[in-house]
Amino acid sequence: MEEITGMLSENEIRTAELCLEKALELGAEKVRVTLNKSLMELFGILNGELDKVNHCLDRSLSVCLFVDGKYGTFSTNRLVENELDNFLRKSVATVRMLAEDPCRDLPDSGRTAKNALTGKELGLYDPSYPALTSDERLKMALDASIFKKHEAEGLISEEGEYSDSIFDTFLLDSNGLRCRHIETSFEYGVEMTVKDPEGNRFSGYWWDSTPRLAELKIGDCGETAFQRAMAQIDPRKVPSGKYTLVVDSENSSRLVTPLTSALGAFALQQKNSFLLDSLGKKVFPEWLDLIDMPHAKGQTGSRLFDSEGVATKETPVIEKGIVKEYFVNTYMSNKMGIAPTVEDVTRPVIPPCVSPELVKPENMDRQAIMDLVKDGILVTGFNGGNSNSATGDFSFGVEGFLFKDGRVVHPVREMLITGNLLTLWNNLLAAGDDARMCKSKVIPTLAFMDVDFSA
């Protein structure tokens, strides 16, 4: 059997098991316990010099209790034996004060994950992590700085952060479920602020993140952030009107999250979803697919189980424009009388596509999509905004670039896009193949026609 080298010690795991046993002794009929432990080291660099160091060690124990047909959730980071005993006694007593709810239950054993034994099955743990020293971390953070190189070009501030972390979670329930997830993460992000000759400031941010240190593209971040800041100098206004919208892959997930939220049972059960009664119906264009791909080995965002311990699986969420999946946990399944799935999308992926009027190019990166749609506004950042979960109406602040014949003309800012999410997605022109693999939502550059811009 493989030795498990995560954060959690055998004693801590035993504590979680004792908690489960103790809760049952105190009168709980069913129990789920989740034990999390994580460590993060961070080195912040300001203008090429060390600015901050953070050392963050976290541990928490969460308990879901089912007592006398009632339900409550509790957590503590005080894992001392006598305090845990008091914690559990008070927790059980608190649950008994709540109303009965027959819909509350643990997931059926047949649905829970059986293949998350070591926590390392998905290849998200970097074995080189334990040997990494503070000096090595500091050197990576300092070496990534390019402040001196660009100081004379108007760069007034460079704020970079290197961080790495290890996260270890152990989940068990009184139906016999035992599963574990161990993940390392290495990240570098940097914000550059530049000043034009008139004193106007412009900022650009770029980052990378990966489960394995050797794959971290730390050296590219500074230049990319600097170029993103410089590219925004001299923004101009464009008239309000309808434009083709292209959203780069750094920002495109912003338009996907409201869709997956609207397919969640918590919104559906409350009738607070613009995708109510959409299951099995074609409400999106037939060239759109959205797939949940939680088992991609070594990829950020992959998970074998959700927070109930339910096994995740590769699932079409939208297939040829048809809604194929609601996200339904055990509680909502019982409440709504529909089959349970998982509680939320894990790692959504949109494959490349184009509308039938367009010819799909060989490459589908951002530039190819701009060439494909010819004229429009490329959005490289959102600035606030929101959407109405019940109606799908949205309004977002945006910044980016006006482009013509696929070429950037000038930067634009202080603009808003406004519309309805269903209308927007039915105006989808293309989805690229350039999703950023450092993100858990694998969404490429997207293009939509006839979007209302206000300026």
Binding site: K52, K70, R201, S240, K271, S389, T391, D393, M415, T418
Partner: protein
């Protein structure tokens, strides 16, 4: 707070000599300053869904954050245990900053943080309570009376009944009544969710200047989210109230406020449309429109952004930026307010800070690091989400003082524009100064009259320009009592307020 040092020392199982040794160890490696932040928080929540309170729980968070500064560099670590070994290891991790690289001197050349000095006379204020609630403190309107400065903090949130001593069952009937009353008052109500959360945090702070401070911070928050249906259409609405107070906040007055606000304006919401977008005059209704100040200038006035030269307001202290009728403050002294602080999270007494006085930029919002950097006193804005975070400059209650115009005068003066009064969220880009806020409801203004209802639109502008474009200030200042939370890498409870104001030339989203 409990006025008993030993209560806090016993709670965290530490002694004063032990605290002194820890901070001494923090600066032994060459640090210029070190401090400790102990926290014991109990958070409780209850949720009513489909007519029953069928889920709830409590959560305990306990630990100590240890900070070592070298100049304006920060080393930070924390421990979830306050045993001597764990704290000693955390000090070593935080002190790594002192052992790494050469010192970066502060400007002006002041390498050791100074003890607290009394703030400039006039920096303190007090609330005039205009609305009494049974036992609850109300942040109603604000005047500019300035009491004498004291170094000892006043208790801005004395509470009668500790949330920790009441059982969950006590609160259930109150939540059920809110749900029933809302459902009874509008037959379009389809679903109601009521949530009640509360937390109490015991805080103990000690630093290498020998300053020991302690505080107990209550917070109660209640919210109702309602889904309405009419002619096959769906609309939603959320109402919340949040105060630094004990269980005494749950009064008949509060219940009536929440219920009546929940069902108010639903006809308009179903009738509302998107306006034609573009630049126009925007009348910001009194109260929650204070989000304009929070986003348009508050963040850009947080001194860490200015210390790093990132803010659009960097280097502009003393400049006239708007009408002399405008004064904007950030205030930690409003009794019972969500943004109130007896002490900030660096042990600096709560105070009231004028960011703009009579149109002139007067002060950034400082923590100890930025105050030392700029050679001024800290303003009590060093705040943090929990012991897991180092403190940074954060807002408290940010609002504008009242002017002379009436609300009616302001609306009548607008030929074409929008009036907005309910919001959900906002955001700002510090460097560029571009800010946005999302409007949940309002009206078109045509020829000086409110006409078509509008909803779900984002509004965007630029901070300095928007300030300069405020041309009328109402005589109805109001601080909103909703559950506003500010995110800046870490969350902090805040509040905001404003009288009715007219802002020319904001960009309104539309079709």
């Amino acid at each position: 707070m409990y006025n008993n040092e030993n209560y806090y020392l016993d709670l965290f199982q530490v002694t004063r000599p032990q605290l002194e040794n820890l901070v001494a160890a923090g600066i032994k490696e060459g640090g210029s300053y070190s401090d400790l932040f102990f926290e014991n928080t109990t958070y409780q929540d209850l949720l009513l869904r489909d007519g029953i309170v069928s889920s709830g729980g409590f959560h305990i968070d306990y630990g100590v954050g240890i900070r070592v500064l070298k100049g304006d560099r920060t080393g930070y670590a924390y421990s979830e245990s306050t045993d001597a070994k764990s704290m000693s290891e955390a000090v070593k991790a935080a002190a790594l900053i002192a052992a790494s690289g050469p010192d970066r001197p502060l400007a002006p050349a002041e390498s050791v943080l100074a003890p607290l000095r009394p703030s400039t006379a006039g920096d303190q204020g007090r609330l005039r309570q205009v609305k009494n609630r049974q036992g609850a403190r109300s942040a109603g309107s604000i005047d500019a009376i300035c009491p004498p400065v004291t170094k000892t903090a006043v208790d801005y949130y004395p509470f009668v009944s500790d949330w920790r001593t009441e059982e969950a069952r006590v609160f259930v009937p109150f939540m059920e009544r809110i749900q029933k009353e809302i459902s009874a008052r509008d037959n379009r109500v389809l679903k109601v969710i009521v949530s009640l959360s509360n937390q109490i945090s015991d805080i103990l702070m000690f630093n290498s200047l020998g300053e020991l401070t302690y505080d107990t911070r209550p917070m109660g928050t209640i919210a109702a989210s309602i889904v309405f249906t009419q002619d096959g259409k769906i609309e939603n609405k959320t109402v919340s109230r949040s105060y630094r107070t004990g269980t005494e906040m749950l009064t008949e007055t509060l219940l009536e406020e929440i219920v009546s606000e929940a069902v108010k304006g639903i006809d308009e919401r179903f009738a509302a449309r998107r306006p034609k977008g573009g630049k126009m005059s925007v009348v910001m209704g009194a109260g929650a429109s204070g989000i304009l100040l929070h986003e348009a200038m508050g963040h850009a006035f947080e001194a860490d952004f200015n210390r790093k030269g990132q803010s659009i307001f960097s280097g502009r202290i003393g400049e006239k930026v708007c009408s002399e009728d405008i004064s904007i403050v950030d205030d930690g002294t409003i009794p019972g307010n969500r943004g109130a602080v007896n002490f900030d999270d660096e042990g600096v007494p709560g105070q009231k800070t004028f960011m703009v006085r009579n149109g002139i930029l007067e002060s950034y919002l400082h923590d100890r690091i930025s105050a030392t950097h700029f050679g001024v006193s800290p303003t009590g804005n060093g705040r943090r989400e929990s012991f897991r975070y180092a403190p940074i400059p954060r807002m408290r209650a940010t609002y504008m003082l009242g002017g002379k115009a009436t609300k009616e005068d302001i609306i009548t003066s607008v030929k074409k524009g929008v009036y907005v009064d309910q919001f959900s969220n906002g955001q700002v880009q510090i460097g560029e100064g571009d800010f946005t806020f999302f409007v949940k409801s309002g009206f078109l203004i045509e020829d000086g009259k409110l006409t078509m209802p509008v909803k779900d639109i984002n509004i965007i502008g630029n901070g300095p320009q928007a300030l300069a474009d405020i041309t009328m200030v109402g005589n109805d200042p109001k601080v909103d009592e909703g559950a506003w939370t500010c995110g800046k890498g870490q969350s902090c409870p805040v509040s905001c307020g404003i009288p009715t104001v007219l802002v020319n030339n904001l960009t309104v989203g539309g079709e």
